[in-house]
Each structure stands twice: as structure tokens, then as C-alpha cells.
């Protein structure tokens, strides 16, 4: 926590702003110095060079003139050369004082006034010079005397311009500017390097932060993305807080965060004997990598640890964790992501089955493999494509207690066959269809198949027995009426001969909506039955609320009635209750003669069970009907319409 806050201080806004300002200032200063230096170089140095050159020439030309002047009293006297040198010197002054090019030279310091003074002194020599040359005078010494101070002043001018204070100062400035620039360059480089390092650290920090949950400080989902491998000796456990959503919705985010913290603490307690790593995917989802040889023991400890009562306000909320576990070293060596997926799959499986944990073992893998096979087969079968799975229907006759051969109808039962697995339990088929959104497709297939098989029984033979069809949950929807009408009624099955069976589980407590569906079809004459009565919760409430015609009493109420008078009396009272509610009862699971006799004695009900008939193919069902037609009661007359 300490290092984290230190890191936060290092990457705080003031530090970043300070660094930025320092860089901007340094860059500004560098640029300024660079500009100054450029100016000094481009202007001052060029001018200095020009001035030096011009003044050097001036000095040289003055020397030439002085030399000629001195030689005038010797044998080497050359008047023309003297006049030429005079003119050359004259033109040099003229150039220095007039030309555009030499302006910087004369503008420097007091050069111009000194040059003007020198030039006028030179011009003052012209008249005596001409007089001497023309021979009117001969006192060359006087002229030489006149020249001497000029020569000295001129020399001084040249010296001042070359090594005088001004030049020195200029050179010093250039030098200082150079030094400042190089210093600034170094400083800028240092600051840029510091900032680059800073940015690199910031990047690392951000990347590290992004892999940590801000609330709990645990590694998060991003951490999983960069996790290269997981030791096969480690179990991978996916974990979820079951009641988190309830807490979040009822008590708000603060309490939910509190729950998360408490839960994490509990998890750590459960894991304290192990070396583990805890990763947080969301406030309610976690992944644990833990070294353990005994998965069962670990799971027991974890379950005990995260099964607790959480006090919130005045309420006590039982909190539970759910676990999906991929045990250490189980199964073939897989990529850890695949193992992680297995763990998540186990968690999903546990949730689906209402368990507190699910371990990825041989059985589960087999089960999941089978599910995949069945699912794939179902998809192809329902799409009418060649499939490894086939569905078919069987019919279990429902008979009157009055006459065991009096077939009053049948329950249509689903059978599934998978090439590799053999028979597949129908409830599993239904559950898979529901889970993968194939429910309505399955229902429609079933309706179509029933209509196709039994149509002639009704249209040609005038059979009036009731066909009971189980509605899977997905069929209990607004489209039910349409499907029943188009697939069953339009195909020729009389509405009065249809009974839709609803199980207590899929009625799902929304009585209003279900009753609406029932009402629509009841108006057309279709009957409804409550299936498996007595096995779910609130059974009696269903009986009271749902507008059904039949009650299918579960086999559990029949079991043992032949040995227990109390059980028999209980069954009798259920039948009586149904009668009171104007419901027809169908007793399921009558398997032997003793049971048959007892149920028959209770009277008034229909019976479905092995003792009367086992489920059979439609052809057998038809044969059965035809065989016993003669013995049926008078109200079921067979009309041969052909």
C-alpha cells in the first residue's frame, strides 16, 4: 500500500506539470539562445570580418602612401606612384564613408567620425602635395610631418577595431552564447532523457495498474491476459458470489463492495493452508490458482469458509460461494486457458444444477461431451438434416378404472436415440432444447409428428380418446395457440381430443399469463392438465390458480399404497379433492394388480401405468385400440367413415 501511494505521488498531476513546464522552459531558452547565436554569427561576425578586411586594407594602403612619401626625398622618388597611392587611399576613405557595404564598419563605435576626420586631414594634404609635385614647393618634410599624426591615428583606429574592447566584447558574447547553447543543449537532453524514463515508468505503472483491481488491489482480468502459463500442479477454480446481485440491487454499491471485501477475506481464510493466487474478474467473480493434491479437501474448506451469514442493516443474508473446479493434473495436459474454460464451465454447470460446486472430472467431461453430441444431433434433426440423433414418439394408453381395456386416450411420450450413446432420456433432450433455444422447434416438431401419426385415427376411424401432449417450457408462449391450431387442429385432430400437459416447474408462477394461454385454447376446446402433481412446490396453489381440466397425480402417491392403508387413504383424498374441484384425475404409475384394484376401488379416475399398458409405438397403439374396440363402452362407438 505504501509503495502504491508513493507511485501515485510520483505520477501525480503537479509532478507531471512541473516536468512539462521545465521542458517547455528549457526548449524556449534553447531556442532563444539559438536565435541569439544565429544573429551574432550571421550579422556580427560577417560585419566584423568585413570591418577587419577594410581596415586592414586601409592600413596597407596608408603604409604604401607613407612609403612613397618618404621616398620622395630619395633617389627612388616616383611622383606618379605617390599620386596613385594618394588616390587609392582617397578612394578607400571614400568607400568606407560612402558605400553601403561598409556601413557596419563605419557605424561601429565612433569609427565614422574618426574616418571623417582622417579623410579631411588627407584631403588637406592635396594642395601642398600638388604644389610639391609640380615643383612649386620642395619642403617634403613639412608634408611628411603633416602625415605622421594621421598615420598614428589611423593605426590606432585599426588596432582599436581589431583587438579593442568592442571586438573583444563581441567575441566574448559569441563565446558566451556558444557556451550557453551547449549547456542548454545538455540540460535539454538530460531533461528529455528524464522525461523519457519517466514516461517509461509511467507506462509500466499504468500497465501494472491496469492489471490490478482498483477496489481490492487483486490482479484483475487483464492480468489473466498476460498470464503465460499455469502449473499443471495447480487447480484452477472459478468462483462466484451467489447473492451478490441481490445485495447490489437491495443495498447499493457500498454494501456490495463491502460484501466483496468480506468474501475475499473469507476466501483467503479458506485458502490459508495453500499457496494460491487470487484473481478478481468482477466484484462477484474470481479465479483461484492453487497448489493442492486433495481437491475434495480444498473444496470442503472453501465451501465452509465462504458459506456465512452477512449482516447488513438489521437483516442477515446467507452468502454462498459457488465453485467450478478444474483439479490439478486432471485429464490431458491442456493449455491453461482451456483449463480455465473448463473451470468456468463447471461453475456454469453448478449454477444450472443449483449445486454449490462442480468439479471437472471424468463424469462431468463425459456428461458435457454427451450434451455436445445430443445438442449437435438435435440441431441437425430439427433442421431436417441427416443426424446422428433421431426423435420418435411412443404412446402410453390411459385407461378407465372401470375397464382396463377401455382406452380413453394416451400420453404422447418423446423418445430419443443417439447413434453413439443409444437412448437419451427425454427430459435431458427437453432440458438441452430449452437451454440452447431449440424449445419451440422441438415442440413444433412434436405437434407435427403427433398430427402425422394420429390424424387417420381421428379423421378415418373417429377415435375420440384424448391425446395428452407435454408442453416444454418454451412452448408456453404466445405462439402456442397458433402452433396448436396450425399443426394439430388444421391437420384434423379434434380440439376436444387434445390435452396439453403443463408441469408445475414450467408454470413458473405467472398464473395470469398461463391462464390467458389456457383460456385461448380452452375456447377452442383444448384441455389442459397439471402434470406430475404433488412433486413441486406450492402444488395446491397451482391447482387453485390454473384453469386446468385434469390433474395428473404423480407416481410417488401410488407407490406403496398396497402395503400402507394410510398411503392409500392419502391417494384417495387427492382424487376426492380433484373431484371437488371438478378436475378429472389421472393416476400415474400404477404398476401391479394390487395397486390397480385399490385405485379402481377409489373410482372416478383414469389410470396410466405399466399394469395397464407400457408406452408403445403408434402401430401397436392402433392395433390395441382396434383389438379392444368391441369391448369398449357404448359411448365410444367406432365409426368407420370409409
Amino acid at each position: 500500500m505504501g509503495s502504491r501511494s508513493a507511485a501515485q505521488r510520483v505520477f501525480s498531476r503537479p509532478v507531471v506539470v512541473t516536468l512539462f513546464v521545465a521542458l517547455v522552459l528549457l526548449l524556449g531558452a534553447s531556442f532563444h539562445t539559438y536565435r541569439q547565436d544565429q544573429e551574432l554569427q550571421s550579422v556580427s561576425l560577417a560585419e566584423l570580418r568585413m570591418a577587419s578586411w577594410n581596415l586592414a586594407q586601409l592600413g596597407h594602403e596608408a603604409d604604401e602612401f607613407g612609403h612613397e612619401l618618404r621616398s620622395m626625398t630619395t633617389v627612388a622618388a616616383d611622383q606618379d606612384q605617390l599620386l596613385l597611392q594618394y588616390d587609392i587611399l582617397w578612394s578607400r576613405y571614400d568607400y568606407l564613408l560612402q558605400s553601403r557595404e561598409s556601413a557596419p564598419t563605419r557605424n561601429h563605435s565612433d569609427n565614422e567620425s574618426r574616418l571623417r576626420s582622417l579623410f579631411s586631414q588627407l584631403r588637406a594634404m592635396e594642395t601642398p602635395l600638388m604644389a610639391l609635385v609640380s615643383g612649386q614647393r620642395s619642403d617634403w618634410d613639412t608634408l611628411t610631418m603633416q602625415w605622421q599624426p594621421q598615420r598614428l591615428a589611423l593605426q590606432q583606429l585599426v588596432v582599436d577595431n581589431f583587438v579593442g574592447d568592442e571586438t573583444g566584447l563581441l567575441m566574448d558574447q559569441v563565446q558566451a552564447s556558444r557556451e550557453r547553447l551547449s549547456l542548454l543543449s545538455v540540460l535539454t537532453l538530460v531533461v528529455v532523457a528524464v522525461i523519457l524514463c519517466y514516461l517509461a515508468f509511467a507506462l509500466i505503472y499504468i500497465r501494472r495498474q491496469s492489471r490490478i483491481d482498483q477496489q481490492t488491489g487483486l490482479p484483475n482480468a487483464n492480468y489473466l491476459q498476460v498470464l503465460p502459463s499455469v502449473d499443471v500442479g495447480q487447480a484452477i477454480i472459478a468462483c462466484e458470489i451467489r447473492d451478490y446481485r441481490v445485495v447490489l440491487s437491495e443495498y447499493g454499491t457500498d454494501y456490495a463492495a463491502d460484501l466483496t471485501h468480506t468474501f475475499i477475506d473469507r476466501l483467503k481464510v479458506g485458502l490459508e493452508l495453500y499457496s494460491f493466487q487470487l484473481v478478481q474478474l468482477s466484484p462477484s467473480e474470481f479465479v483461484i490458482f492453487v497448489h493442492t493434491g486433495d481437491t475434495g479437501q480444498l473444496v470442503r474448506q472453501l465451501l465452509a469458509s465462504v458459506h456465512f451469514d452477512w449482516m447488513v442493516h438489521d437483516a442477515v443474508l446467507p452468502v454462498r460461494g459457488i465453485f467450478g473446479i478444474d483439479p490439478a493434473g486432471a485429464g490431458p495436459t491442456l493449455d491453461w486457458q482451456d483449463r480455465y474454460q473448463q473451470a468456468q464451465r463447471c461453475l456454469a454447470q453448478a449454477e444450472r444444477q443449483g449445486l454449490d460446486h462442480c468439479i471437472n472430472n471424468q463424469d462431468l467431461r463425459k456428461q458435457l461431451m454427451e450434451e455436445r453430441l445430443v445438442h449437435a444431433g438435435l440441431v441437425r434433426f430439427l433442421a431436417d438434416e441427416p443426424s446422428s440423433l433421431s426423435l420418435s414418439l411412443v404412446y402410453q394408453p390411459i385407461v378407465s378404472t372401470g375397464n382396463i381395456k377401455d382406452i380413453r386416450g394416451a400420453e404422447v411420450l418423446l423418445r430419443a436415440w443417439q447413434e453413439e450413446l443409444g437412448p437419451v432420456p427425454p427430459n435431458r433432450v427437453v432440458e438441452l432444447c430449452e437451454r440452447f433455444g431449440l424449445g419451440r422447434q422441438l415442440g413444433r416438431w412434436l405437434f407435427r409428428q403427433v398430427a402425422m401419426e394420429t390424424r387417420q385415427l381421428y379423421t378415418d376411424l373417429g377415435f375420440q380418446g384424448t391425446l395428452s401432449i407435454n408442453l416444454n417450457p418454451a412452448m408456453l408462449a404466445d405462439e402456442l395457440e397458433t402452433d396448436v391450431r396450425s399443426l394439430l387442429l388444421d391437420a384434423g385432430i379434434p380440439a376436444s381430443c387434445l390435452c396439453m400437459e403443463i408441469t408445475e416447474d414450467n408454470a413458473a408462477l405467472n398464473f395470469g399469463r398461463i391462464n390467458e394461454l389456457i383460456q385461448h385454447l380452452s375456447q377452442a376446446g383444448v384441455g389442459f392438465a397439471l402434470d406430475d402433481f404433488g412433486t413441486g412446490h406450492s402444488s395446491l396453489e397451482y391447482v387453485r390458480e390454473l384453469k386446468i381440466d385434469r390433474l395428473k397425480i404423480d407416481r410417488c402417491f401410488v407407490q406403496g399404497i398396497e402395503h400402507s392403508a394410510a398411503k392409500a387413504r392419502f391417494l384417495g383424498s387427492i382424487i376426492a379433492m380433484a373431484e371437488q374441484g371438478f378436475l378429472k384425475s389421472v393416476v400415474e404409475g400404477v404398476e401391479n394388480e394390487a395397486q390397480w384394484n385399490l385405485v379402481r376401488a377409489m373410482g372416478g379416475s383414469l389410470v396410466q401405468g405399466f399394469f395397464a399398458y407400457k408406452p408403445m409405438l403408434f402401430s401397436d397403439f392402433l392395433a390395441e385400440i382396434l383389438t379392444h374396440w368391441s369391448t369398449v363402452s357404448t359411448d365410444h362407438t367406432l365409426e368407420v367413415s370409409s
Binding site: 586594407q57 594602403e61 604604401e64 606618379d80 587609392i88 582617397w90 578612394s91 553601403r100 557595404e101
Partner: protein, 152 residues
């Protein structure tokens, strides 16, 4: 050779004051002196240009440098040196100097130039017409008070 030099001395010593100003061309095989009237007998080129020396445009006229050098013969020479009355001299390759479109100016604004006016001859470049020549590395060829041209 000595006679030529003597003649040259004579021209310089005597000609400066009384006679026409002249320019001496020389190479390894000999020399040639051209006076102003001879130079002005060559086809004349007029350059109207800004200069580093005067405010505004100034007109210079005179034969092209190429024409002047051809009086001695350009072929077979690599280097040219211009020498001024004040002993200033500057050298460059013949080809690069000929590329400058220079003239040997004999007149400024129509008038002959005295030594005080930096005459009598002045190598002038068309700076306004060819701004790329307005640079110190070419300015150095603009020799005033031109006295001699040597070819090597």
C-alpha cells in the same frame, strides 16, 4: 621578355599621369596591354545593377570579361588572377569566372572612372539580373582599380 617588362614599366610609369589608363593581360607566353579606347572598341555590355557600394541602381559599361580574355586567348588556361592597383588580388578557375557574365567596366553611369572613383577599370557582375551572384563568395571577384589580369 625583359623588353616586354621594360615596356610595361614604361607604360605604367608614364601612362598613369598623361596617357590613357591601361590594363595588362599576361600569361606564360607573354603579355598584352589594352588601353581604355581599345577596350571600348570591343562590343560593349551594359549592366544596370544594385551593388554593395552605392545606393540604388548604377549603370556600368564595358567589354565582357570573356572578350577581354580572348584578346590573349582563353584556351589552355586553368586559372585567372585579377590584380588591383592597391595590390589586392583574387584568383579563380577560368571556367567559373567566365560563368559569372562579368564585364570589365570602363564607365560608370556613362562617365570614365578615375582612381578615386575606383576606376579606371572595375570587374562588375550583373547582380540584379542574377541575384544568386549577390553573395560574398562572388563579391570578391568584383575587383576595383583593376590593373592586370594573369592567366595560368
Amino acid at each position: 621578355m625583359t623588353r616586354v617588362l621594360l615596356l610595361l614599366f614604361f607604360v605604367i610609369l608614364t601612362g598613369q599621369a598623361q596617357a590613357e589608363p591601361a590594363i595588362t593581360l599576361s600569361d606564360a607566353s607573354g603579355s598584352l596591354t589594352l588601353v581604355r579606347s581599345e577596350l571600348e572598341a570591343f562590343p560593349q555590355t551594359v549592366i544596370e545593377t544594385e551593388t554593395p557600394y552605392y545606393e540604388g541602381k548604377v549603370t556600368f559599361s564595358g567589354p565582357s570579361l570573356r572578350r577581354v580574355l580572348e584578346a590573349l586567348g582563353v584556351e589552355g588556361h586553368q586559372e585567372v588572377t585579377f590584380r588591383a592597383l592597391n595590390d589586392y588580388s583574387v584568383s579563380g578557375s577560368v571556367n567559373s569566372v567566365l560563368d559569372l557574365d562579368a564585364i570589365v567596366a570602363t564607365r560608370r553611369n556613362g562617365a570614365a572612372m578615375s582612381v578615386r572613383q575606383r576606376g579606371p577599370f572595375w570587374i562588375m557582375l550583373p547582380l540584379t539580373e542574377r541575384p544568386e551572384l549577390d553573395d560574398p563568395q562572388y563579391h570578391r571577384y568584383m575587383v576595383w582599380q583593376l590593373a592586370a589580369i594573369e592567366l595560368k
